[in-house]
């Protein structure tokens, strides 16, 4: 941990390369949804710059396009993005207790699935500059991708968009596999999570529930059960 902030920023940049590229591709398709809601390229890019949430923005744009009111949009954002509450709680434990308020306010602006993923998997306490390095590439990728999505619409061939869109899932996999390899409990949890998620997504009974709500319910239920059954006496903070 004796490394300088600049070194951590450089490491964050490296982790940010796949995030920025993946975001660019996903945001491109998001831009098309924004255009359908009557947003200009600037307004859509501003939305992406401020909100940084794929599901939250998709849902927001489609609600707005359907003529929803402000309150309805607010409630849906709360539901679609509630998982970030859990991630921020986790991150609060990853920061040194003496980490200043400005760092906390800035990190809070960009707790996305991927930036959270790389931040939480950094060794030891999190140096905020590592997260800033990742954001420095993720943010322009996300905002510019949205902007170009509105401007250029459907010019990209579908095969390229399809291929790029799994990049983000590849990153998720690279984050949860190493601890799953090390710990039998995490391995079992990952398999149970996938099986339960598959059931929730495919059984028609659950069709009325949004995918954001499903994610929250499954995350809370499975993690809570694991915490009760397999409490960890010493959460690792090595290196």
């Amino acid at each position: 941990m004796g490394d300088s902030n600049a070194k951590w920023f450089a490491r964050g940049l490296r982790a940010g390369v796949p995030i920025g590229l993946g975001y660019f591709a996903v945001a491109f398709t998001l831009g098309i949804a924004a255009r359908n809601a009557g947003f200009t390229a600037f307004q859509a890019a501003l939305t992406s710059f401020l909100i940084n949430a794929s599901a939250g923005e998709f849902v927001g744009f489609s609600l707005i396009a359907a003529g929803a009111g402000y309150l309805e949009v607010a409630i849906m954002e709360l539901v679609a993005n509630a998982r970030y509450l859990l991630m921020s709680f986790s991150l609060s434990q990853k920061l040194r207790p003496e980490t200043g308020i400005l760092h906390r306010l800035l990190i809070g602006w960009y707790v996305t699935d991927e930036v959270f993923g790389v931040s939480i998997s950094a060794p030891g306490y999190l140096n905020p500059f590592y997260t800033y390095g990742a954001i420095a590439l993720a943010c322009p990728g996300w905002a510019c991708g949205t902007f170009l999505g509105v401007m250029l619409g459907n010019i990209f061939p579908a095969s390229v968009v399809s291929a790029l869109s799994v990049g983000l899932y590849g990153m998720f996999i690279a984050i949860f596999v190493p601890p799953a390899k090390e710990s039998k409990i995490v391995r079992a949890l990952v398999l149970i999570s996938m099986a339960a998620s598959f059931a929730f997504a495919r059984i028609p009974l659950f069709d009325g529930i949004s995918s954001g709500v499903k994610t929250i319910v499954l995350t809370v239920a499975i993690s809570a059960a694991a915490a009760v059954l397999f409490p960890i006496r010493e959460v690792k903070r090595d290196a």
Partner: protein, 103 residues
């Protein structure tokens, strides 16, 4: 059709989303000592990433099979210690090449 002002919509979405993210980070300043809460927070990221990956990865692509193949390739490479970037690129390449053949 849209019924309100675009900038108010953006502000509403931004404020709600920011509060969700920033409140835990600013209000929880100490380390949580309770072993159950600590364990819960330790498990959350892995569970939530696994839930979000499958089966969504199969719906993100042109064909379910290319998405499933990308999942398997990603799992195998990550298990063997490949970096985040390599795993992500390999998943994209798998989908692109497979869809050249099957679509």
């Amino acid at each position: 059709m849209r019924s309100g002002n675009v900038y108010i919509y953006i502000a509403v979405m931004a404020i709600v989303t920011y509060l969700i993210r920033v409140l835990p980070l600013t209000l929880v300043r100490r380390e949580i000592k309770n072993v159950y809460i600590r364990s819960f927070l330790y498990y959350v990221p892995y569970v939530t990433l696994a839930v979000m990956t499958f089966p969504s990865i199969m719906d993100a692509t042109g064909s379910q099979w290319s998405g499933l193949a990308a999942l398997l390739v990603g799992l195998a490479l990550a298990w063997r210690g490949a970096s985040l970037f390599k795993v992500a690129v390999a998943c994209c390449a798998t989908v692109y090449l497979l869809e050249l053949i099957i679509l």
